[in-house]
């Protein structure tokens, strides 16, 4: 950056100082957690806490369960969002403000309120879902789709902006393609990066989610499981926090890597 030459030394020193503070805020809790997680055996550093966590069968089952929920959320979210965003751009641009408003709902209705409303609506006929495990899973996935809707819609919509959907659609139609073929074989492949980046963010958000999971499925999910382990066994809790952080890191990096390619290097507002 050419500001390099222009910024006076004093200003650069202050900048470094602020960055150092930010770095401390970011890394000290991590270091403390890693350090703590290695102290399960008195007096020596050991990976005992990790061994205990990883050998707990409930860890594997909660982890798998949440991963399944995350993948289902991605699938449902993509099936809902891609055709809608495509259709709004192609045929119903006048509906755009309405769809935008809907996708912003999670910023008005927090997760705890949404899950309360879901339980209330779906715990009595005619929409009874809370009485079976499958039903609560449906509610959980639906809730997660709502939570990630703003990001997913934004990612897909930005992706659509980058391709000329009108020309692609007309070209496909002139070759005799129907809507199913257009969506599955032309729109989806062209949105691969956008969808992938939305998917990584979804997994990041869903994996450790506590609020909805704890009221709908309880300890079966990873978030509530972590919470319970941490309450009873501090070292294992710290180990789980480290594992969870590593996951967040990995998926955020994937998200940023894919997202940057998808969005042409533009660190757009909201598309991190």
């Amino acid at each position: 950056m050419d500001q390099n030459q222009r910024a006076p030394l004093r200003q650069r020193l202050v900048s470094w100082l602020i960055l150092l503070l930010g770095g401390l805020y970011f890394f000290v809790p991590l270091i403390a957690t890693i350090d703590f997680s290695l102290r399960a055996r008195k007096g020596v550093l050991s990976v005992l806490a990790y061994q205990r966590v990883l050998s707990d069968p409930r860890f594997a089952s909660a982890f798998t369960f949440s991963l399944e929920m995350a993948l289902l959320t991605v699938v449902v979210g993509v099936i809902l969002v891609v055709p809608t965003a495509y259709w709004i751009r192609l045929r119903l641009p006048q509906l755009r403000p309405v769809v935008e408003f809907v996708t912003l709902m999670p910023f008005v209705v927090p997760a705890i309120v949404l899950v309360f409303g879901l339980i209330r609506v779906f715990s009595r006929p005619p929409l009874l879902l809370t009485n079976s495990f499958t039903g609560t899973q449906i509610l959980l996935v639906a809730g997660y789709v709502v939570l990630v809707l703003p990001y997913l819609y934004r990612a897909v919509d930005t992706g659509l902006q980058a391709i000329d959907i009108r020309t692609l659609t007309e070209a496909a139609q002139s070759l005799g393609a129907g809507w199913w073929v257009i969506i599955t074989q032309i729109i989806f492949p062209n949105l691969r990066s956008a969808i992938l980046s939305g998917a990584f963010l979804t997994i990041t958000i869903v994996m450790g989610e506590l609020t909805m999971a704890s009221f709908l499925v309880g300890l079966k999910a990873f978030g509530p499981y972590m919470s319970q382990v941490g309450q009873n066994r501090a070292y294992e809790g710290a180990a789980l926090a480290v594992i969870s952080f590593a996951l967040t890191w990995a998926f955020t990096m994937l998200f940023q890597f894919v997202g940057r390619r998808a969005l042409g290097g533009d660190q757009a507002f909201g598309a991190r």
Partner: protein
């Protein structure tokens, strides 16, 4: 929101749209690529709106209705009135204060950080690193974040112990991780990175020409910031702070994991209400939620207005 474990990262910005007619006529779409015209056009968006109606509108609406109904199903204002009792008012007040504190604190620190790496003369890698870390940290919330802060600033936390060996016992001098300030400090971990992510594009959108023009007209750095840059950035900064406020206000998982539910926040009260173990009046739970939605909606309305103003300057 995240805290709600899933920190809602930054809000997406959408391009401006015209106001939608409530019942747009099926004829209005452009006459190209017709799949079959007429009602068929609407079938394309039907699944999305059915989903939204079932899982977003219906739950919100049912809470709204519930807050004005008594146990027999008659209309009542009793639930709303019961919000105005000291313990509930204090929960709203603590929630609002904690959100304000972390939104302003996180907003200020996040702004300074973004400023430092974008305009402060630091190398390019510092900017990239900060944005990457911010992406990770703004998503790191809820249970693991609470554990991390217990390991750092809890009674046996690393920093606590370190300071103690240096002769400073932070718990002696009144600090407590499980209280207002402890929770605020913890929220800051996802608040300031979120600010960095939101404000960085705005800072990068400040055109060099503006500064040069100001300098050519004899403006000092201070004049430039006071009369050009800050007025342009103000809507973005305020908008970002509003988002941070909402982010903290809706947070539940972090507060619950950190304090075990012992702090009197509005989200914790609602959580207790869902479990049904603290308050025995079901209508009150709906009213609590309704109050939250009202505050969040006000918050978003201000955000939306500011966003429109700031977009004027940020078109590239």
């Amino acid at each position: 929101m995240s805290g709600n474990s899933s920190v809602p990262p930054a809000i997406p910005s959408f391009s401006e749209g015209r106001a939608a007619p409530a019942q747009p006529s099926p004829e209005s779409p452009p006459h190209r690529a017709r799949p079959g015209g007429g009602l068929m056009v609407w079938i394309g968006v039907a699944p999305f709106f059915i989903f939204a109606a079932l899982f977003m509108l219906l739950p919100s609406f049912s809470l709204l209705v519930g807050s004005f109904r008594d146990t027999q199903g008659h209309f009542t204002l009793e639930n709303i009135r019961s919000l105005f009792t000291p313990s509930i008012l204090s929960a709203y007040s603590i929630s609002i204060r904690i959100s304000l504190t972390t939104a302003l604190g996180g907003g200020l620190f996040g702004f300074l950080l973004a400023y430092a790496v974008i305009l402060g003369g630091l190398p390019r890698w510092a900017r990239d690193a900060l944005l990457t870390f911010s992406g990770v940290a703004s998503n790191f919330a809820g249970v693991p974040l609470a554990f991390a802060f217990v390991a750092t600033l809890g009674r046996l936390g690393m920093v606590t112990v370190l300071l103690k060996t240096l002769g400073v016992d932070i718990y002696e001098i009144g600090f407590n991780l499980y209280s207002f300030w402890g929770l605020s400090l913890t929220y800051m971990y996802f608040q300031f990175p979120l600010m960095v992510l939101i404000i960085a594009p705005a800072l990068e959108g400040l055109k060099r020409e503006w500064r040069e023009a100001a300098e050519n007209l004899g403006a000092s750095t201070w004049d430039y910031w006071r009369m050009v840059a800050l007025p342009i950035l103000t809507p973005s900064i305020l908008g970002a702070i509003i988002l941070l406020f909402g982010n903290a206000f809706g947070a539940y998982a972090t507060a619950l994991s950190l304090t075990g539910g012992l702090i009197n926040l509005i989200t914790i009260l609602i959580g207790a209400q869902i479990m049904g173990d603290v308050l025995y009046n079901p209508g009150l739970g709906y009213a609590l939620s309704f109050g939250m939605i009202v505050i969040m909606a006000l918050n978003m309305a201000i955000y939306y207005i500011l966003r429109r103003r700031s977009e004027r300057w940020l078109r590239r």
